[in-house]
């Protein structure tokens, strides 16, 4: 059985994930000389929205010059099933904390890590697709130039300086996944010291 403190922290980590329904996971900020006020996108578990009401619209309009596809949240299926995957993950975490079984904790941590990696890969893949699969008749074509935003960090894309960073929900996920891994390590060590108890 897990220690009481592990169970409490695990429950906290699992329940903290519910905040990811409220706070966006990622933020892409765009700055250009013509946009001193900036443009921005928030990527949430179920939605892609502009930072200001018209930002997504404005970004799509600007993207037509480089032949980028229109970003239409309704066309991104992940946004429909990610909330359910997250709910499942929360469920596993809560059950594991309630049951107190170590294998359940390991399972939760493994699912969480794999899910995070898959999520980041999927985000990168969408970014790659938007940035590389450009209209061959695009208005602005610069040989060798692609427009994939960075997964994390900053990059100059023509006149725009793009900065991609986790947003509040993303930071909560990072803290939670780290906690899940640390708790697993802790319980794994305890289990090795007292194998009979397992």
């Amino acid at each position: 059985m897990m220690t009481k403190s592990t169970r409490l922290l695990l429950a906290a980590a699992a329940l903290a994930l519910t905040l990811a329904y409220v706070f966006p996971l990622w933020h892409i900020a765009l700055q250009a000389p013509q946009y001193p006020e900036g443009l921005g996108l928030y990527i949430a578990v179920n939605q892609v929205t502009g930072e200001k009401p018209q930002d997504l619209n404005s970004i799509n309009n600007l993207n037509h010059y480089i032949g980028m596809k229109v970003i239409t949240p309704a066309d991104i299926p992940e946004l429909r099933f990610m909330p359910w995957l997250l709910a499942g993950l929360i469920g596993v975490g809560v059950v594991a904390a309630a049951a107190g079984r170590r294998w359940m904790l390991y399972g939760f941590a493994t699912l969480f890590v794999l899910g995070s990696v898959a999520g980041l890969y999927d985000f990168w893949r969408w970014g790659y697709d938007y940035g590389h699969n450009l209209d061959p008749h695009a208005i602005i074509k610069i040989p060798g130039m692609t427009y994939q935003p960075p997964l994390i960090g900053s990059k100059q894309l023509l006149n725009f300086h793009a900065t991609s960073l986790p947003a509040t929900g993303g930071w909560i996920l990072i803290v939670a996944v780290t906690l899940a891994v640390l708790l697993s390590v802790r319980e794994f060590r305890l289990a090795r010291r007292a194998p009979a108890e397992a």
């Binding site: 006020e37 018209q54 619209n57 404005s58 309009n61 600007l62 010059y65 208005i139």
Partner: protein, 655 residues
Amino acid sequence: MSAPFVPARRALAGLLLASVALGACGKPTTTQAGMAGDAASRVYVAPGQYDEFYAFLSGGFSGQLAVYGLPSGRLLRVIPVFAQDGEKGYGYSQETKAMLETSYGFVPWDDAHHPSLSMTDGLHDGRWIFINGNNTPRIARIDLTKMETEEIIEIPNAAGNHASPFTTQNTEYVVGATRFSVPTPQRDVPISTYKETFDGLISFVKVDSASGALSLAFQIHMPGFDYDLARPGKGPSHGWAFFTSYNTEQASTLKERNASQNDKDYIAAVNWKRAEECVAQGKAKTMPATYVHTLRGEDGVARADTRSGAPVLEVADCPGVVYYLPTPKSPHGVDVNPSGEFMAAGGKLATVIPVFSFAKFQAAIQAKDFTGDVRGIPVVKYESALSCEVQQPGLGPLHNEFDDAGNAYTSMFVSSEIVKWSVKDCQVLDRIPTYYSIGHLLVPGGDTRKPYGKYVIALNKITKDRYLPTGPELTQSAQLIDITGAKMQLLLDFPTIGEPHYAQAIQASLIKDRQVRTYDLATSRNPDAVKSEKDARVERRGREVHVYGTMIRSHFAPDNIEGIEVGDSVYFHMTNLEQDWDVPHGFAITGQQDAELLVMPGATRTSLWVPQKVGVFPFYCTDFCSALHQEMQGYIRVSPKGSGVKLTYNNPSQS
């Protein structure tokens, strides 16, 4: 002040005639008298920094309202109000044309004199600014979040709406009055019957407290003098409004002499709360009137409606509604100090500035301290209402503004200077020359209960040698003067549009963060709006062709149109699909007799084009919108009348 000043007392008799003729006198030997040594740093607003105040300067005979930043004196925008403006398509586009409708038909111009900010509790509230049209009597309302003219109301049976709009303490009313007395209501009479048939009207226009909508509340029928300027009371004098008059001689010709004979003319003190009671009691009679009211609807389209009949109060039917205060020599401005207790007048030809006490004026009414009456209007004894007189202040006093420290500033047209004096004891404290012939002057917030102080701005008629000359027609000017110290200090002068009569200034923080950036396309109610490029289309209805077009960086839809015939009426209804700040698109086409369209993001504007010639004509975007602005163009093919070319059009981004 390094320049010698000709003392007004000695100069008065000898210089008055000469200076009236020359427009300016007492000209200092240096062109920089009163100039602060570190003036540049005190008006310098660094690139990218904001000014502290928005100043709204009337455009005078340009008919418009100019928006400046203070203290930099940078011109930020010209708001079209009473005049067509080709630059913005205002008064040309189908959506805005109706703004300039009057009972005289379409009037594409007016003479705009006095901006007046809306107030709550005697303080600027940053909602609207009103301005009068003097020539074809009108009052306009401008929305301060859009800086666009929203509404214009004509003042029926008035002539020369000069004493206007001057907002009451809570924007209950904006006022108007007849400057050029006329037969009231208008009728066909010999001019020689002036004294028998010519009258004036003092008008109160109600401002709806929620929407700002203007409606004529009532008018007061007045003797046929020329009612010149006005100020509503505030604080203790709230509920009253004061109007100057000249030509109490009731001359109809050569008024410059014949209207300058009486030693005293009158301030008409109107108890508008009393007038409201009388109107509520049904004492107003309907005077025949036809007047036009224009309003930009929620769909962004201006419409004109014609109203008829005006509620007019006869003074005899409403005792106590008006009193006359004798005031020296053809008074121009009458201005109420921040506490609302004192009213200072500017007798153009007077050698004193009289300051009346509202409390003494009320006591005189109670005591019936009258010297007679004019057509039933009691004339209060001058001395009974007088607080003090500023003796020999200078030549040609016109207007007074007030600071936050109990001082008044009076513009002196003839001696071309501003005189600072103390309201409580009428002592002159300081004077500074203006370049040249100041009319109105402005202290930011100077007409409110709490002036912001800091500056006085002179609004000058003559600039002669002040700027690089530009042929016979020279700019008029504004001069920024610091009033924070004991001595006024000149900081800056800058050119203005048209003629700056009065001006108002408001702290930028009250309105800058409420500025509309785009119009929401999704909720646009313009009946001709096209909300998506796929809905762009062209429809023929007989000889009318309606193009429902869209504009977005950097193309039109449609951009190829055929099947138009010579003489068709082609309506280009152009919607700017942008929802991004500062991305207007323009629309121009060869031979466009309406001006261009300049369409803000999310808005729709319509230009009527009647092709006169066969050919293929380009249309294009006039506002450099993007890197490929030059490519933002299209063609329309015009065939001979009756040629039967089929109407076709494309949708370029779907082909």
